[in-house]
Every structure is written in C-alpha cells, then in structure tokens.
Point group: C2
C-alpha cells in the first residue's frame, strides 16, 4: 500500500504502465481490450485499485466513465485529467492507456501536494468507449458527459455481438450510479499517432485544432443468388458494388494528394457464404482533412462517384449516415499555458493539429481544454507495434503534471467557452 | 401412422414438403438450415420419423449421412436416391430438400411394390453438408462416402464459429456409427437453379456433364493503422487490395462474356473496426465454365491480375487454395435410361449440363449415376424467392420414382465406372 499523501514516483509510473499493459495483452506486445469486454473490466478494476491506493476516491457514472477524485478545495469544480483505457482490436498499448495512467499520476501528485491557493479540485478520468469498435460511434462516455448524447441512448446501443452497452457494463460491474464531478477544465495527454514530433525532434506537441472528418454508414444492396448457377447478366452482386465504393473512397483521397485521408475500416458481407452472390454489404467509411473546404469537395466527389456506381445499374447504394465532425480550435489560453509550462521545463515543443479524434474534442466544447501529444515512434498506431519510449512517456508525465498543477491553481479559470 | 406397405400418395408429398419447409423457415418463405445447426437437426429428426413411418430403416454414418433402407433382396447392393437437407443462409426451400423428400417417396414407393425380379435394394439418402457454408468445403458427406476424403479430416473441420463438425453433429445427435449401405447406383433430382428448362418449356432435364470450377482461398495482407492519423502514403490497406481482387474476378468473367462465371461470395475483414485500416482480408472466390480450356485461360488471367495488384506494392496477396473441379460426363447409360423413362411418361425433356456442383458429381465417380432437374421459376436459387410449382415437383417425383424402379430392376447393373 502506497502512502496516499506522498507523490508517486516516475519509476513507479513505468512499472505501473507495464502492469496495465499486461491486461488484455496480445502475443505481439499490443493489447486487445475493447470497451466493456472482460479485459476492459480487468483494466478498470486495476485502475480502481490504483485510485484507492493513491487516495483518489473512485466515482463511476451511468455510462461507465471512471473518476479518481481528490477534493482539497471543498465544493470547488474539478480539473479533469485523463483519457481512455479501451482499445481497438489487436491494437497498441499506448493509445489512451498512457493518458489515463499519466492523468492518474498527475492527479495524485497534485492532490498530494496541492499548489498554494488552489482554486480547483482534481480528478483523474477514464472515459468510456473512446474507440467505438465494439459499440459505435466512438467517444461515447465523453459525449454523454458534455451533453451531446443522453445516457439512455448510449446504454441502448447494440454491439455487433447483440449485447447492449447497458448489459456489457453490468457484466463487468461498471454500471455506475455516481454523479460525475463538476468540471472546471480538462487536460489530456496522448501519443501523437503520427510522425510529426518524431521526424522533427520535438518532445511535446500542443494541439491547436482538430482535423475535420466525414463519417459514413453505407449499405450496398444486391440480390442473393447462386455463384455457380447464375449467369453473369442476371447478377446483382452487392460485393462488387461495395468494392467499387471502397476504391472510390481511395480515389477521392488520391484526388487531393495527401490533404484528404479516406478509408473503409469496416465491411460486412451478407450472407457471406462461398457459393452465394452477396445480397447486402454494410460498410463504414471516413474522409478527413484539416481544411474544411477541401473536405467538403472530397465529400461531394465521393457522393458523385457513388452516384455513378448506382447509375451503372447493378446495385443500390444507401448512404445512411454522413456526419461531419467540424475542425475547431482548442482554446488559445490553454495552448499558451501549455507552451509556458513546456518552456519552464526546458522542453522542445511545437503546436500541431490532431488528425485523430479524441475525448478532448468533446470536452473542449464544455470547458477550457488542453491537449498534449508525446511522440509515436514511426507514427504507428492502432497496431500492436505502436511505441513510445520510456523517456518520452516520463517527459510527457512531467509536462502533464505541471500543466495540471497550473490548472488547479486557476490558470484557465477565466477562459470562456463557446 | 401410415401403412408401410402401401405407396405414399402425391397429395401426401405436397403436404410433407410443406411440413419440411416449415423447419428453419424464414419470414420470406425460405429456409435457414445450415449443416448441423439446430434447424438442420430438426429437419433430420423429421426425416428419421418419416423413414420409420414408411418402413425404411434409418442408418446414420460417421459423418452424419442418413440412409432410409429397404432390403427386398437380402445381401444385394443398394440403389441410393436422394440429395441434401442442409441449406445456405437465408436460402430457398427447394434446393436439396426437394430431392431428399422425392428420394424418400421414390424409395418408399419402390419398397412397397418392388419390381419383379428386383436386382437391388433401395435406400433414400440425405448427404451431410452439401452446401459448405457453415463448414467448408462443400459436398462433405458424399466426399467421404465415395472415399475422396476421410471421415476423420471432415470431423475435425472447424466452422467460422469455432465449432468442429464432430461437435456440431454430436450436439444434434447425428454422430452416427452405422456402416453405410453398399451402393449399386445413385439417382438425384434437384431444382435446375437456372432458366433453361423454364425458358424452353421442358418438364425434366437430364444432366450429361458438370461445369468445371476453380475455387480459391485468397488472403490479402496489409498493415493495421489508424484511419484518422495515418497519411495515405504510409498505408497498406488490405481492404483496398481485396476490393481490387473482387473486381479482378468480375473483370475475368466479363472478359469471357458469359462463358465463364466468377464471383467472390465470402469476404472477412480484420480487425473490422470503423477507424482501423484493415490488416488482413480473407476471401473465397470461384471461376466456372463448361469449357475447361476457357476456364484454364480465365484462371491464368486471374493469377496475372492478382500479380499486378501485388506489383503495385501496397498489399501482399496469397492464393492458398486453387482447386479445380473438372468437367466430366455423367454415364451415357444413365442418360439413356432417364430419357427412355421420360418418353414412357410422355414428358418434355432435354439433356443439359449442370452449372452448380451436386453430390451426384461425387457419386458419379463411384457408381452409375442419374442426375435429374426440375424447372426453377425465373432461375432463382440460393435466395428465399427460389420457386418450383407443385405440378413441376409432382412431375419430377413421378420421373424419379420410375427411374428408381428401373434401377432397382437392374437397368444400370452392367454399367462400368472409371
């Protein structure tokens, strides 16, 4: 049992990160810890134990968000600091988990030795289902926290295995009833998931804006038939149409030469038997760009290409969801604070946009929010080979802890949010 | 309880077919009765009951093939007559099941009133897993019966749900221990699954040859990555490569303008999450043609197109299985017998090849085999809208029964098999 009044050490951080990484570990050094699975449950139990050992009171809200709370200023709002423990399938051990553990260490350090004239309380946080792989869409827990979605609609969401979020959270014992802490501000640290910091030799990235994204749910409709007994002229093959859509998404990305990303990550064939012409294919596509005008052009290009596929007459294509995540700035005062902290610590830092979505994109709309990056070796992410060095992690932890301390002292208290 | 010594009536056939079609029925008039599922087990229980009611002794062999045996000539070999009860997912109620029930009626009729000087015994048969959707490859039960595969390798086959054939057969109580009857010859009746008979106004098709087929198991390898944070130039997207393979198969079929069929029926994406660039895609493809030379040209064209996809450098493509089902003739004496029977009955008949594979393609290599078709309305198959009229079914039953009677009387006894 650690002494809850002393600051945890950096050596302990690396040891704890190794322990956490062993939960849901894959043979190739990654983790497979999708939201509200057994492995996620074990990771959460581990975190709850860590909170208790370090004097943070655990609260679990209705959608499984976990908070490790310290209240040196009774009644004051909380600086929240954290990320998410859930992972993509066969994914890396740093994405999200690093930010949760760094947030826990930052909260415990600040709670153990609060700044003089602390204005806020502090809570580590583990947002539920950031990844959106088992239960779609992503950013579930933080979306409920900021009021963009209701707890009820999230709890009724059905995963690919037919289980609802409500049932899955209950099964792992994280269907909570606690009210969430009242937020003053939010800080998140995350691996960059790109090569900018590594290629240019920076220790820390301070996020100024997120890339915009269009996300699509597409259904391609054909006609079920026998692959061996149906002449080609009578076929309406949904998989042929879906393959054309996949290549159309790629062609749109190519059209904008790197300024637009596009892919299809998920594709499901019905009935998916070797000798049956597919009747229906469902797929999830996305297009992303920092430049909203380019993204809109890419969106129109994709719709035009899909219209051409439909006009060819073999399949029907329905684009059910085309939801835009806008590109918006993070708070200037938060960027300035992070830059000042990094300078104080003597770190090499730069501002940059985030290509991926994060819980901070939600929190930013509610409270002043600081988003920090540490380098990703080779920029690899959502892959078991994802890697950030121990030194890079420790540097990020120092950065996050100092930033959190300044926020608890009231550094962002006067910042207004749209 | 029917009188086992009287011939079953045609009215009873239609009523029994409706009963059988209700097992595993879908809302849209089809069936979903994949091999060794609960629904297949119920269909098998129903057939076992039918055998008992009609004086046929049920035998179940090690791979779940069911035989309903009558032995008017003790010690003599058996004329086998039947097809398969298992279906594709959300498929039609005629494919296979019609042939099993017609075979049961033919066997019971002949057993109730055997021809004078019968040379053979008679057994209705339900071959295990003709479709190959839950457990691949297809034609499992008949492949073991004719000695092309061992019972052990079939029983160890693992389905997509992780269950083995052995476990699945045990779960439905059809892991039999009976030795199969010694065969003299085989007759199968099936829906055409094409439009030839319907378009040209024939009652019966007599199959002279099967289309040749190449079947492929293809794996496309990429690199798992974040769809939102990985620049296009760093991507190795397995689904882009797989989509190119799907369209290559279609392009090969188009290249031969109808004389070659080609499709991808099954495609599975890993890890299949909306925001992850796919790392691996597995797919099952086939190419088919009546003309073996054309098929070989198509096969070479596909391999060349796949080589081009690999040369482009984004993905790796492995073609693990490229197995050829050759195009071979059915026995001339069997075709002649069926033609004579059809003439005797005053039916409009023609010879034709079978595009789809059937258990008779296996049996043909072991014993003299007759393969008959009844019309398929609009040629629709492997689809819930598959349809054959009551009159067409009854005409086919008369044809099958008369043919079986001639075979039991020794009509094909002197035919030699390669």
């Amino acid at each position: 049992m650690a002494d809850p009044t002393s600051e945890p050490t950096e050596a302990a951080f690396l040891s704890d990160f190794a322990e956490l990484s062993a939960i849901g570990a894959t043979e190739r050094g990654g983790v497979h810890r999708e939201a509200a699975t057994h492995a996620d449950g074990l990771g959460r139990e581990w975190l709850r134990g860590w909170f208790a050992e370090h004097g943070l009171r655990c609260r679990v809200d209705a959608v499984g968000n976990m908070y490790g709370c310290a209240e040196p200023v009774p009644g004051a709002p909380y600086v929240l600091v954290g990320s998410h423990l859930d992972s993509q399938p066969t994914s890396g051990r740093f994405d999200g988990a690093y930010g949760v553990l760094a947030g826990a260490y930052a909260a415990a350090s600040v709670a153990a030795a609060p700044p003089e004239a602390a204005r806020c309380n502090v809570a580590a946080v583990n947002w539920f289902n950031e990844e959106g792989s088992r239960f779609s869409p992503s950013l579930m827990g933080s979306s409920v926290f900021v009021g963009k979605r209701t707890a009820e609609e999230v709890l009724e969401t059905v995963g690919a295995d037919g289980v609802t979020v409500r049932e899955a959270l209950r099964a792992i014992g994280f269907d909570g009833q606690d009210s969430p802490p009242r937020p003053a501000s939010f800080a998140e640290i995350h691996i960059e998931q790109g090569r900018t910091l590594v290629d240019e030799g920076f220790d820390i990235g301070v996020v100024t804006r997120n890339w915009a994204a269009y996300k699509y749910a597409v259904t391609v409709e054909g006609e079920q038939a026998h692959t061996g007994a149906t002449h080609m002229r009578y076929r309406r093959d949904a998989l042929v149409g879906a393959s054309q859509v996949v290549l159309a998404v790629r062609a749109v990305a190519d059209e904008f030469g790197g300024a637009v990303l596009g892919s299809v990550g998920q594709l499901t064939v019905e009935p998916n038997s070797p000798v049956v012409v597919p009747s229906r294919v469902r797929l999830a596509a996305d297009l992303r760009s920092l430049d909203v005008d380019l993204l809109e052009q890419a969106h129109q290009s994709l719709l035009a290409r899909i219209a051409e596929i439909v006009e060819a007459g073999e399949v029907g294509v329905g684009v059910q969801g085309a939801t835009l995540r806008p590109s918006l700035p993070y708070h200037e005062a938060g960027v300035a604070l992070a830059g000042a902290v990094a300078d104080d610590l003597g770190l090499r830092w730069r501002t940059l946009p985030t290509m991926a979505g994060h819980d901070s994109v939600n929190l930013r709309d509610l409270v002043p929010t600081v988003m920090l990056f540490v380098p990703s070796v080779n920029g690899i992410s959502h892959n078991e080979n994802e890697y950030t060095t121990d030194d890079q992690m420790i540097t990020g932890l120092r950065m996050l802890t100092a930033t959190t301390r300044r926020m608890v002292a009231g550094a962002l208290e006067t910042v207004s949010v749209p």
